[in-house]
């Protein structure tokens, strides 16, 4: 445990030779609406190390997709970054010009979107879309483009003849795999994935997760994987970050979160989905609904739904407390460690 390292505070132990691939510090994203300002992402900080698989889970409206778009600098009005930094390869992406960003995007950091059906252009072949991406980054040799395109498709288990195929000729799983192939064109350091498996069936989901893990082991890129289904990532992610109402409620090693969750929201999520094995237990889910972010609760944002709510939770927003290598935003963890 590298206690002396500054990053240790964010639940990360960096190896001495490599700094984190991505450092997010106090990132806030606001939606500026006529009715007021909605803070969708509220001072979120975390690191992603080289070759690490970080899963971000949360319910719809918790800000997980907005956070992703904030990291990739893909936000459109009315959303805008209102504070904080995103440091990738030593540069703060928030301050970069569009031209500089264009050089980083896809070659060093690529994004796999949720719906491959919409992310692929329906009127051009898969190969043509690969070619566009490579040309945009200055690769002009036809041979090189053809060679690399075939190579990445083979990497994800698709026959390169499908470079000539149009998206509608591929199945859902193949489309999603070709999106991942496209993200691999320049062997990036970081691949950001926004629910890439949500449109797929269980069997296809499982094989896609295995594929991502195998590619990651081979090429060593880091992955940020956003999902609403925490059981899906349980066997694949190194660290798990649970978001609630725009904030990080708990982040730590995946296995530890599953074995001993600290935050009542994480506990509730774990007990919300039935299991296919083991005893058939009656579950309760989490009563209530997430808060309206235009009027967030004054204290802890989970307080209105929390089974262990205390008087101070309603008035004071809890800071993040450290419990071993996990960070927990809950007063119940106060005595387990010091505030950050």
């Amino acid at each position: 445990m590298g206690h002396a390292l500054a990053d240790d505070k964010y639940g990360v132990t960096s190896s001495p030779h490599h700094g984190p691939t991505l450092q997010v510090r106090d990132l806030s994203v606001e939606y500026v609406l006529e009715s007021g300002i909605v803070v969708a992402v509220d001072k979120v900080s975390f690191d992603v190390n080289a070759g690490e698989f970080l899963a971000i889970v949360g319910e719809s409206g918790c800000g997980k997709s907005t956070l992703l778009f904030g990291i990739a600098q893909l936000l459109n009005p009315p959303a805008e970054i209102s504070g904080g930094s995103v440091t990738f390869q030593g540069r703060n992406l928030v301050k970069l010009s569009d031209k500089d960003l264009a050089a980083v995007r896809w070659s060093d950091m690529s994004v796999v979107m949720q719906s491959a059906m919409n992310a692929l252009n329906p009127v051009t072949s898969v190969g043509a879309q690969f070619r566009d991406a490579m040309r945009a980054h200055g690769v002009s040799s036809q041979d090189l483009i053809a060679e690399r395109s075939a190579e990445v498709l083979r990497m994800v288990g698709i026959d390169p003849v499908h470079l000539k195929s149009y998206p509608h000729q591929l199945s859902g799983g193949m489309r999603q795999r070709s999106m991942i192939a496209m993200a691999m064109l320049f062997t990036p350091e970081l691949v950001i994935m926004d629910e890439p498996t949500s449109a797929l069936d269980v069997v296809a989901q499982r094989s896609l997760m295995a594929q991502i893990r195998d590619l990651q082991q081979e090429f060593g890129f880091a992955v940020i994987f956003v999902t609403h289904d925490m059981s899906l990532v349980s066997h694949y992610s190194n660290r798990l970050m649970v978001m609630y109402a725009g904030q990080v409620s708990e982040v730590g090693p995946t296995r530890k979160l599953f074995d001993s969750p600290h935050h009542p929201y994480t506990v509730g999520l774990m007990e919300a989905f039935p299991s296919i094995r083991g005893p058939r237990l009656r579950l309760t889910g989490i009563p209530g609904n997430p808060p309206d972010l235009a009027r967030p609760p004054a204290g802890c944002r989970f307080a209105p739904r929390c089974p262990e709510v205390m008087p101070r939770c309603v008035t004071d927003p809890p800071p993040q407390y450290r419990v071993e290598d996990t960070l927990v935003r809950c007063f119940l963890s106060e005595n387990a460690g010091g505030a950050q």
Partner: protein, 347 residues
């Protein structure tokens, strides 16, 4: 209890007491393509099963397995291409008049997948339920209709019913809207609710509440529910019986706990092995499986899972397997499967 699900349509013996719903060799085909290259998509082929009183029956399968087509045929949105469906002993094909259709849709209403598009956004939520009551239970006075609407809203956990009735759909969360869907169905005093993926668009923390509601409706209101889903874990959680479909065929059926605990069909085994479960170790053979369900266009005889099945034998390529008994009330359509032991195709 007499149960006909363990027998194929061809060797069917009439049961001593008629179940609530009996589906007999039901098929639904769709003709696709132009006049020159006409082909037929077999969405459902030869489905046979029953639903008893106060029973939740889950129909599970991947997309394209035909599970939603089953629901739509049962709702009389589609006519079956062949086969017959008996509701309380009466064949559905005999329901022709407007009046009879109305009565049937009140006894077997449908709850849809998407709570965001299945409620009219310009009216208060009371509109849908009061209108349905006026249509299906004309004997009630306006005050009785309102009281009944409050009762069903309270019954599905929209408390206080009188207040929630006055809200507009956009003022409700996804989980609450789906409860409105169940309340509308319940208002018609149904015998059978056809629920097509009712929780798949809801957040994880909300889902269990809806599943518990389905169990409550079965226990306190005495309705049966056909629960169409792709999520085996939720099927196990809430349903009494499970029907597993693959490419239009019913491949395995039986008590939910028994089918998932002791799957006999290799496809059910694959689904169980691939289900994400943080409490179980990874299953390597399910990870390696890269196949996809076929589109069933002008099929030739044979098992439709044969291209993905590691155990496929000659017979699987020639003869379509029918449901065979694998245990008490538990049957599977597989040439290789044997009673008493898993095939081990994906272990």
């Amino acid at each position: 209890m007499t149960d006909v699900t363990t027998e194929s349509a061809h060797q069917y013996d009439p049961p001593t007491s008629e179940p609530l719903l009996r589906v007999e060799g039901m098929s639904r085909h769709f003709r696709i393509g132009s006049a020159i290259s006409r082909t037929t998509l077999h969405a459902v082929d030869d489905a046979t099963f029953t639903v008893g009183d106060r029973q939740i029956v889950a129909v599970a399968g991947e997309s394209g397995s035909g599970k939603s087509t089953v629901a739509r045929v049962l709702a009389k949105i589609y006519k079956p291409t062949s086969g017959e469906i008996y509701f309380q002993g009466k064949p559905l094909s005999s329901i022709r008049s407007r009046r009879a259709k109305l009565a049937y849709s009140g006894q077997a209403p449908m709850v849809f997948q998407d709570p965001f598009s299945s409620i009219n956004p310009v009216f208060r939520v009371s509109h849908g339920v009061l209108r349905a009551l006026k249509l299906h239970r004309p004997e009630l006075t306006s005050q009785q209709r309102y009281d009944e609407a409050v009762r069903v809203f309270d019954a599905v956990g929209l408390n206080p019913g009188g207040e929630v009735l006055q809200r507009y759909p956009h003022e409700l969360s996804g989980g609450q809207r789906q409860r409105v869907g169940f309340a509308q169905a319940l208002a018609m005093r149904p015998k059978l609710i056809l629920a097509d993926e009712p929780v798949s668009m809801l957040d994880v923390s909300i889902r269990v509440g809806l599943l518990n509601l389905m169990a409550k409706l079965r226990d306190t209101e005495g309705v049966s529910i056909i629960y169409i889903t792709h999520d085996l874990a939720s099927a196990r959680y809430v349903s009494d019986r499970l029907i597993v479909m693959y490419a239009g065929h019913v491949v395995e059926t039986g008590p939910a706990e028994e089918v998932l605990g002791n799957p006999r069909h290799p496809y059910t085994e694959l689904l169980v092995a691939a289900a994400p479960d943080p409490r179980a170790p990874l299953n390597a053979s399910a990870e390696a499986e890269r196949g996809e369900p076929p589109k069933v266009i002008d099929p030739t005889p044979g098992c439709r899972f044969r291209w993905r099945c590691p155990l496929a034998i000659d017979e699987c390529h020639r003869v379509t397997p029918t449901l065979r008994e694998m245990g008490p009330d538990h049957s599977a359509a597989c040439h290789v499967a044997q009673p008493g032991a898993a095939t081990g195709a994906f272990q």
